[in-house]
């Protein structure tokens, strides 16, 4: 076998010829389908790939994508963003978070707006950059506002490990880590569920392993194929799902086997288990309250928990989405972004009203940007 080059890992999985060849195979396989199938790509990264490469337009008429809720910035409720906003405006606080959070609007504005009011907000590439900020600002409290699905949780745990081991005393945490299976379950159990199969997230699965999707195959009779993020990965996964329907199989498959195993990254899972436990609930923007769908710091680390330390100034009142926004319906697969009255008019990436327009991984934002609305 020839030697792998880094270029292969990029170009090889974006090859237009391979996309075209797979389209042909999907078309042939789709002729045998007994009925139309709706495939939910759970992860916003896949939504982005599908829209960027126009894969939705390469599908035959009886295979349709439903865009799922896997965009952590999109599903962050306004009351949590308000927490970040309020914390950042404290005199002795530097709020640190990942760049995706810059423009996400809470009820008072975004972190960018807080900055323009004098707040010290730093957007970092890596959670570990927080350590340098803490060492350079010993008189300040550095609050790491942690976001993301299972993909980013171990990176926050790694920062916690550095903080506790090296006794760094001026770093605190505000945890907003959420998990994938719980919203999938909620979607499957909703009355108007249209989902026939899932494309499983890529990098969530690198950490968790594909084992977290077993229940969907066994208990809900929905095939799952864990796919990589490149267009060829997605096409290959659609072909695999279509074959499952035609062969009357319902299985969990890993298309992204170059990076995903059944058990996942056990070191990362151990680190998560050391610091985190389940939060009783998390109110997802667009989907509502989902019990046990988020993580919080374990009680023994409550001395690092900004939510507990600053509880007197952090409101917990529910803040609903804009009345006209139909993101909830879009994430349940019963509507498309262009069905929304305010799509592209009152709601745009530069001034989002609803959750799916907030980040480039949100379905509305991807539709707006790539505009392939055939």
């Amino acid at each position: 076998m020839s030697e792998l080059k880094l270029k292969d890992l990029y170009d090889g999985f974006r090859d237009p010829k391979a996309i075209k060849a797979l389209k042909k195979l999907i078309d042939e396989e789709s002729l045998k389908l007994p009925r139309k199938i709706n495939v939910m790509e759970v992860c916003g990264g896949h939504t982005h790939t599908i829209m960027k490469y126009g894969l939705n337009q390469l599908m035959p008429k009886n295979i349709e994508f439903i865009h799922g809720p896997g965009c952590p910035v999109c599903v962050m409720p306004k009351e949590r963003i308000d927490h970040a906003y309020i914390l950042s405006l404290q005199d002795d606080v530097i709020l640190v978070t990942l760049g995706d959070m810059i423009k996400v609007p809470g009820s008072n504005g975004s972190l960018q707006d807080a900055r323009s009011k004098g707040a010290d907000v730093r957007f970092v590439y890596s959670p570990l950059d927080t350590i340098k900020i803490a060492l350079e600002n010993p008189t300040k409290k550095i609050i790491f506002f942690a976001i993301g699905f299972e993909t980013t949780t171990p990176m926050t745990a790694a920062l916690l490990e550095h903080v506790t081991k090296n006794k760094i005393e001026n770093i605190l945490f505000h945890i907003n880590h959420i998990t994938v299976p719980e919203p999938m379950r909620v979607l499957l159990e909703s009355d108007d569920c249209k989902i026939d199969a899932f494309i499983g997230p890529s990098h969530v699965s690198v950490i968790t392993g594909s084992k977290i999707y077993e229940e969907f195959v066994k208990n809900y009779n929905k095939p799952v194929v864990v796919a990589g993020f490149e267009p060829v990965d997605v096409m290959q996964s659609i072909l695999a799902l279509t074959k499952q329907f035609n062969e009357q199989r319902c299985e969990l498959e890993i298309e992204y086997s170059r990076a995903v195993s059944y058990d996942g990254n056990l070191a990362a899972q151990r680190l998560n288990d050391k610091y985190f436990t389940r939060a009783t609930h998390f109110r997802w923007r667009g989907l509502g309250d989902i019990p046990d769908s988020a993580l919080r710091l374990k009680d023994e680390y409550s001395y690092l928990d900004a939510e507990i330390i600053y509880k007197d100034i952090l409101p917990n009142k529910k803040i609903d989405d804009h009345k006209l926004c139909i993101c909830g319906d879009i994430m349940r697969g019963v509507a498309k972004p262009n069905d929304c009255k305010v799509f592209g008019t009152a709601c745009k990436p530069s001034s989002p009203l609803g959750s799916c327009m907030v980040s480039s991984e949100g379905a509305c934002s991807a539709y707006y940007k790539y505009g392939n609305l055939l």
Binding site: L6, K24, L128, G148, F149, P154, L271
Partner: protein, 94 residues
């Protein structure tokens, strides 16, 4: 948010558990805190927000690429055959 990028390890700082990686010509640092398997210079890893998440299975990646190459070749062969058949059936040929 969730896009991890394939990169190649070019050197390892064992004291700080940090790898220097090449991401399509861009040199960056990535923590190895989440890696408990053996990694060495020349290995491919997925990088996400400053951390290596895992090692990419080279044999598996090559096997996938080989499958795609075969699919493409088969399609091109089918297209050629189709073109010949269409040519044979050409009504305008003298």
């Amino acid at each position: 948010m969730c896009l991890s990028i394939p990169s190649k390890i070019t050197s390892i700082d064992e004291k700080n558990n940090i790898a220097t990686v090449d991401t399509m010509g861009v040199e960056r640092q990535a923590s190895l805190d989440l890696i408990d398997q053996e990694v060495k210079v020349g290995d491919y890893v997925l990088i996400h927000i400053g951390f290596a998440m895992n090692k990419i299975d080279e044999e598996d990646a090559l096997a996938s690429l080989e499958v795609y190459r075969e699919i493409i070749e088969k399609m091109e062969e089918d297209d050629r055959r189709q073109a010949i058949l269409e040519d044979d059936a050409c009504a305008n040929r003298a």
